[in-house]
């Protein structure tokens, strides 16, 4: 119980510290939101600039501005977008589904394919299949995702017409259809990491004593792999998958742009370019929260898979 409380308190502190750092960074970044708020250069008179600054509290010191934001944020009011003139929460909630379904789809793809390839390479370690998997995934990982995206779009969508070119689709089937190419583009880089980690941890297990012991009892190799090798390798694999998912939640910008998806990533880039502070603040905080949620889930999940991890925590 106290562990849970301590954990929650830690997360709250992390959030406050992160939100302040983000706020201060935006405050210090070059560029003036007033230029965008007024828009017309012919209206950029000193009086108008001063009036707009006062209206948006941009003339207050950093700490006052932060306090205004924080006191709104704790009541659930994340502010109003400078650009859209709508509550930040409403804009976020209209953009989140596209990004979350994209990341979920990509996560399924790179987990299934990555673990599968990793297992295959580990079982065939030292043979052609092993080198092929390592070689191909490394090559794939070295191509930037926007290049993969552009190639996929121009071949499968524009040329062959198999997949839609833009948008995230509506309804489950349509969304899957729209997001297939973006999810592939997003997961190509992760494939190499996940398959490599899977292969490496499994190879280490193959050489360990308990696997030798299992083999000496005459257990079929397939069962040795499933029950003894893979089971003990899950820890690092799941940790790595979680970290990749967490970084994807913050890294969909390029793929969203190539595939014309209105998601969180494109929202963030637009907001940074227009100095839409309330949106930038909210999107970056969402990324911090997403990271915390994913890592917490992993911490909760791992002891279930490997009881040794839980007991170690208790005794120390």
């Amino acid at each position: 119980m106290t562990t849970a409380l301590r954990r929650l308190a830690g997360m709250a502190v992390t959030l406050v510290v992160a939100s302040f750092i983000i706020f201060a960074a935006m405050y210090a970044a070059p560029g003036d939101p007033v230029t965008f708020l007024i828009g017309n250069p012919e209206n950029l008179t000193p009086e108008r600039i001063a009036a707009v600054r006062a209206e948006y509290h941009l003339d207050e010191p950093l700490f006052v501005q932060y306090w205004l934001w924080l006191s709104g944020a704790v009541t659930g009011d994340l502010g109003t977008s400078f650009q859209y003139h709508q509550p930040v929460a409403a804009i976020m909630s209209s953009r989140l589904p596209a990004t979350l379904s994209l990341v979920a789809y990509a996560a399924v793809l790179f987990t299934v394919a990555g673990v599968g390839l990793g297992v295959w390479a580990a079982v065939r370690r030292g043979r052609v299949a092993d080198s092929a998997v390592v070689g191909v995934t490394t090559l794939a990982a070295s191509v930037p995702s926007f290049v993969v995206g552009i190639v996929l779009v121009s071949f499968f969508s524009v040329q062959l017409g198999w997949f839609p070119v833009t948008g995230a689709g509506e309804g489950f089937a349509d969304r899957m259809h729209h997001l297939t190419l973006p999810a592939i583009a997003l997961s190509v880089g992760a494939l190499a990491i996940v398959s490599r980690v899977t292969r490496q941890t499994m190879v280490e297990q193959f050489d360990s004593e308990h696997v030798e012991a299992a083999r000496s009892t005459g257990l079929a190799e397939r069962l040795v792999v499933l029950r003894h090798v893979l089971r003990n390798a899950w820890g690092p694999i799941i940790t790595m998958i979680a970290l990749v998912i967490a970084s994807m939640l913050a890294g969909t910008v390029v793929v969203e742009s190539v595939f014309g998806i209105s998601g969180i990533g494109s929202l963030l880039v637009d907001a940074i370019n227009t100095h839409d502070f309330p949106i930038v603040q909210a999107v970056l905080l969402y990324m911090v929260v997403a990271y915390m949620i994913v890592t917490t889930l992993v911490d909760l999940l791992l002891p279930l898979l490997d009881p040794r991890i839980g007991s170690r925590v208790k005794t120390s």
Binding site: V34, I38, N40, V158, P164, T166, S262
Partner: protein
């Protein structure tokens, strides 16, 4: 509002878009040359008339609309949609002339009074008539302190209902552009009952429009799409409304190009002529260009190296505009002698055109004698003590423009260098004197919303806020005052032409290229305007099928 600046993409987005263009260019069917000759794209006010109606059309926007409350803010995306939904006192036509609309007439009765007579038969989408009270209410909303359109009402001292169908506007001084401004968003007539019922949320997703145009705002799914539908009870029987529904979606320009190539979208008014380059080789997509006021310019700052107008003239003479048009826009933009596009010629078109032809000092490509003249000017003025600094942001167009300027300077014996400013900060050149202290020139695509050169050349007055270099000519200032007072078109055109001549001579800003309005559309469609009128004119009503 006169002009509005939308953020430009960061450099790496430009690179991504460039890569997309290159790739789609080689993979698209047909056409082996990635750039076809310019002559292939028709240039004019409108595309050939449609032969029949169409059902549903999918149209791409450069960005998702932010709000449809035009008194808060508006940009290209919002205007492209609401040109079809809302109506104004006056109306811009595809040829960029202005005609009466919800006002059946607009007359100057004396030096300071304009009378708008409101037509009796117009109705809002809820069926209620458009009354003089509604018009007055709308104008007062636009004129309110802080409203986005309030600059159009800067000279207005009073607005009153002076008859059942009559609004009289009193101005502090004659403002020849005021009536024309009422064809823009400052003249948009709103239904006060709808606006008041929505309160603070008016203009946000899920709220109805408050207008009288040929289309009504349908469903807006934030992040996904927005639909406008043909209004069932549109009051103006004389206007045939062809497209029955337009579904808008939005994406970056590279994705817009892909959607058009794949036939997933039926058309788009493109953000930049350069976006049309890869579409030239796509058979199923038609392209058209038309006049707009948009022009790329180099704005001189008060930093000092360009204080002598002879140095600015010399740079203007030596700048290779044709090279810029080719490198940055694939020859889909035009070298420009003036800092404003030909779309500004909303009246007395022939007079403006003849004056433009006669202009000197800003050649498409510098000839030997231009360079000779430029060198002479430099010799007379003496080279600046420090190198001329030009600001770029690493974006594709600004890179080309900056490099061309450096090359021009070198060709006439001047030193010049490029300073790179983050794109997120670039717009601050207009507001931040300290930033202007870091560069002698910055480049931008400038445009005005009213089709009148006077609306632009007022920026050369010694008191104008964007006259950074401090161009100061009392006669010019006097001409600006006279032009604003000249409600007779022929007289105003004459004054505007003189302002243009003096501007180009003094070169407070160096003209670079004109960006025509560029529309890409399915070759099964036609009828829509190709000029910049699409921002205010109900273009979807003219968009119909190309064959029987």
């Amino acid at each position: 509002m006169n002009i509005s600046h939308r953020p430009r993409r960061t450099a790496w987005f430009a690179i991504a878009a460039g890569a997309a263009i290159a790739l789609t260019g080689c993979t698209a069917d047909g056409g082996d040359a990635p750039t076809a000759p310019v002559a292939d794209i028709p240039f004019g006010a409108t595309t050939p008339a449609a032969s029949g109606p169409v059902d549903s059309v999918t149209w791409m926007l450069p960005a998702e609309p932010a709000t449809f409350d035009f008194d808060i803010d508006s940009g290209a995306a919002e205007n492209t949609v609401f040109a079809n939904v809302c109506e104004r006192l006056m109306a811009v036509q595809p040829d960029l002339t202005t005609v009466p609309h919800l006002a059946e007439s607009a007359e100057w009765v004396d030096d300071t009074h304009v009378v708008f007579t409101i037509r009796p038969d117009a109705t809002f989408h809820d069926g209620s008539p458009v009354t003089a009270d509604d018009v007055l209410w709308s104008m007062q909303r636009h004129a309110a302190e802080g409203a986005d359109e309030s600059d159009e009402y800067a000279n207005v001292t009073a607005m009153e209902k002076t008859g059942a169908n009559e609004i009289t506007v009193t101005l502090a001084q004659r403002d020849a552009i005021f009536i024309q401004a009422m064809a823009g968003n400052g003249g948009m007539v709103l239904n006060p009952r709808v606006v008041e019922a929505q309160g603070e949320s008016f203009g946000a997703p899920g709220t109805p429009d408050a207008c009288s145009g040929p289309y009504t705002l349908g469903e807006w799914k934030p992040g996904t799409s927005l639909t406008i539908e043909k209004a069932e009870n549109y009051w103006d029987d004389s206007r045939e409304v062809l497209a029955s529904e337009v579904v808008f979606r939005w994406a970056d320009q590279s994705a817009v190009v892909n959607a058009l190539t794949a036939g997933e979208a039926d058309g788009s008014y493109l953000d930049s002529p350069a976006s049309a380059i890869p579409l030239q080789s796509v058979d199923s997509v038609a392209l058209a260009q038309g006049p707009s006021t948009n022009a790329w310019v180099l704005l001189a700052t008060e930093r000092g190296a360009l204080a002598d107008e002879r140095i600015r003239q010399a740079l203007s003479l030596a700048l290779d505009r044709a090279g810029i048009a080719k490198a940055a826009f694939g020859d889909l933009a035009e070298p420009s002698k003036t800092p404003i596009g030909s779309g500004a010629w909303g009246y007395e078109h022939d007079a403006f055109e003849a004056a433009y032809e006669a202009l000197e000092g800003a050649p498409a490509s510098p000839s030997a004698s231009d360079l000779e003249a430029a060198k002479k000017l430099v010799a007379e003025a003496g080279a600046p003590d420090e190198p001329i600094v030009i600001a770029s942001d690493g974006g594709s167009v600004r890179n080309v423009v900056s490099n061309a300027l450096v090359a021009a300077a070198k060709s006439i014996g001047l030193e010049a260098e490029i300073a790179t400013i983050p794109s997120a900060q670039y717009g601050d050149f207009y507001s931040d004197a300290d930033l202007r202290g870091q560069a002698d020139l910055f480049s931008d695509e400038y445009y005005i919303s009213k089709n009148d050169p006077v609306g632009f050349y007022k920026n050369g007055a010694s008191t104008a806020s964007v006259n950074f270099v401090g161009f100061d000519d009392p006669e010019y200032d006097e001409l600006v005052t006279q032009a604003f007072a000249a409600t007779d078109d022929a007289e105003r055109a004459e004054l505007a032409i003189e302002l243009q001549r003096r501007w180009v001579e003094a070169t407070p800003w160096v003209p670079v290229t004109q960006s025509p309005s560029t529309v890409a559309y399915s070759s099964t469609l036609t009828g829509l305007p190709s000029s910049a009128a699409y921002l205010y004119y109900p273009w979807a009503a003219d968009l119909g099928s190309a064959q029987g």
